[in-house]
């Protein structure tokens, strides 16, 4: 039996496979397909302090080996999460991580304070990289200074595991990672979607209501892998990798490049059983290669 357990900061995960925010709802939506307790963790849909309707339809465009989305953080807000959702999912035998969003630093802090009180939420993922909102979101994640400011403020009020989700839409992602590490982030996760666009040549109109949207799926995997490797080489805190992971081989590539854990996003839309297939595939790979602990894979790239 191989050992799949990994650690992010002080938090033990039964395996390195998590589902990515915005792609698995609150977990419940995919419970028909898989036994959620098999997962290393579930990062729930991006949450804001107040209810958000998100952007106007159309919010989606298919692209070569990927898709653009412009959901814009539609969610029912903190109260709904805390009073309606949390009681239903808190006892799932897997880590529930909340993806925290805000338009201002005060928003991030206020939401974090409320989540800090929930016993069964052992970690938050601070999303400073959403490309689909007019205020906040990615704006915080594309400069060291603003990233530092929001992480610093949130760190003050949060004593559990703080993961910061980075934007790939930057010149130097390693610098941003180092900046948030410097403010006490326990881990960084990357990448969020790349800013992209789709046009309908027949109507000469943008496909998305917001003109631009976030690109995800296999198309972005080479970029995500490169960024994980750059960030792994720049920081000491664990890196959570994602971007186009469709199968165990993809997941292994991320771990070999330096990811301590990985998240499965868009792949869930194609087949919600993929996260469990990946867990099995990593086990099979380790057995084949006689690797005892998945930790031995992390950053094992020979170059």
């Amino acid at each position: 039996m191989v050992n799949l357990g990994i650690k992010i900061h002080e938090l033990d995960f039964k395996n390195p496979v998590l589902t990515a925010s915005g792609t698995c709802g609150f977990g419940e939506e995919i419970a028909d397909f898989i036994d959620l307790s098999l997962l290393g963790g579930i990062v729930v849909k991006g949450t804001t302090l107040k209810h958000r309707e998100g952007n106007t339809y159309p919010r989606m465009a298919e692209t070569p080996s990927g898709m653009l989305n412009a959901v814009g953080l539609q969610n029912k807000g903190a109260d709904n999460f805390i009073f309606n959702i949390y009681p239903r999912i808190k006892d799932l035998d897997t880590h529930i991580i909340v993806n925290v969003n805000g338009s201002t630093i005060e928003d991030y802090v206020a939401l974090t304070e409320r989540l800090n009180e929930l016993d069964k939420i052992p970690a938050i993922e601070l999303n400073i990289s959403c490309p689909n909102v007019k205020e906040g979101g990615m704006a915080f994640g594309i400069s060291c200074r603003s990233a530092e400011a929001v992480v610093k403020a949130v760190r003050k009020v949060y004593d559990k595991t703080l993961i910061v989700k980075l934007s790939p839409n930057v010149t130097n992602i390693a610098e941003i990672a180092k900046a948030v590490e410097g403010q006490g982030a326990d881990s960084v996760s990357l990448i969020n979607t790349l800013l992209g666009m789709a046009v309908n040549a027949e109507t000469r109109k943008p496909v998305l209501s917001t003109i631009t949207g976030g690109l995800s799926g296999p198309a972005i995997k080479p970029i995500a892998l490169r960024m994980v490797w750059q960030v792994y080489n720049a920081v000491k805190i664990p890196v959570i990798g994602m971007g186009g992971i469709m199968n165990a081989t993809d997941a292994l590539e991320f771990m070999i490049s330096g990811a301590s854990a990985i998240q499965v996003g868009t792949a869930i839309f194609i087949d919600p059983t993929i996260p469990v297939q990946i867990i099995d595939g990593i086990s099979a790979y380790m057995e084949r290669h006689k690797i005892q602990s998945v930790n031995d894979l992390i950053g094992s790239l020979q170059c």
Partner: protein, 257 residues
């Protein structure tokens, strides 16, 4: 039943006319109870430019033989590729998805209006609604007779009426120009419709005006089909609703039409 990813066997792939194909998919496990308006989300394999699944309404179900039928109209690359699948191939699909039309009550007199590939759930509904055929009218619109599909298997379930834009079958014009719609609407207390949004909006407007119960099955671009991506929203009177889980069937009164 639980939503499940199933590898179906393609039992039969029959071309009905230029653009429409009838696919019969056999499930290796018992098929769930399925209702008109619900859909399956099909993986289009080995197609270089297709990434996401494609949704298709359920046309019919044979519970004993574990067969689900769908009607596929060639619209773009994905539907084209699907119609090229050979018998014996595996078709991977997620089923069952979406909320169905509400089933009529015994006393209802219903008008089902289908346009284009929207006929599938209408035919299914005519078959399982449990009403006397005299209380079921099915109005089907198409561009031309060559776009119409053979509905003889459903003929016994209701009274069928046709329109074509070029007048080659039934009345000339749109479904909303047909006498059952323009003159005899008071014969029905419920309208169910599926087809192009423009057609459904025209129908819905009249239904709202006349205060007739009306359910529509919305067209939409979906990424997941089971409620996780939040891409498929319709802006309803109570905010953004997911067409794949809160719909695709909505009562017109809930829409901002």
């Amino acid at each position: 039943m639980r939503k499940t990813v199933i590898d179906f066997l393609l039992l039969d792939n029959k071309q009905l006319n230029k653009d429409n194909f009838l696919l019969k998919l056999r499930s290796p496990i018992p098929v769930p109870e399925l209702f008109p308006g619900q859909f399956i989300n099909v993986l289009i394999k080995d197609a270089s430019e297709i990434f996401l699944r494609r949704p298709f309404s359920i046309l019919d179900v044979d519970f004993n033989k574990q067969i689900i039928s769908i009607l596929v109209k060639i619209l773009g690359r994905g539907s084209k590729k699907l119609t090229e699948a050979k018998e014996g191939e595996t078709i991977n699909a997620i089923v069952p998805l979406g909320k169905s039309f509400s089933l009529p009550e015994k006393s209802d007199r219903i008008l089902l209006i289908g346009g284009g590939s929207g006929v599938a759930p209408m035919l299914f509904l005519s078959k399982i609604c449990g009403l006397a055929p005299s209380n079921v009218s099915v109005l089907i619109g198409a561009r031309s007779i060559s776009d119409h599909i053979d509905i003889s298997a459903y003929q016994a379930y209701g009274q069928f009426h046709f329109t074509t834009e070029d007048g080659t079958l039934g009345e000339k014009g749109f479904v909303t120009n047909h006498p059952v719609f323009t003159e005899k609407l008071e014969n029905y207390n419920k309208i169910y419709t599926c087809g192009p949004n423009q057609m459904m909006k025209a129908i819905g407007k009249v239904a709202i005006e006349k205060g007739i119960f009306c359910e529509v099955s919305l067209e939409n671009m979906m990424a997941c089909g089971f409620g996780v991506c939040l891409c498929c929203v319709e802006d309803t009177k109570t905010g953004h609703k997911c067409v794949c889980t809160d719909g695709p069937v909505f009562n017109v009164n809930d829409l901002k039409w």
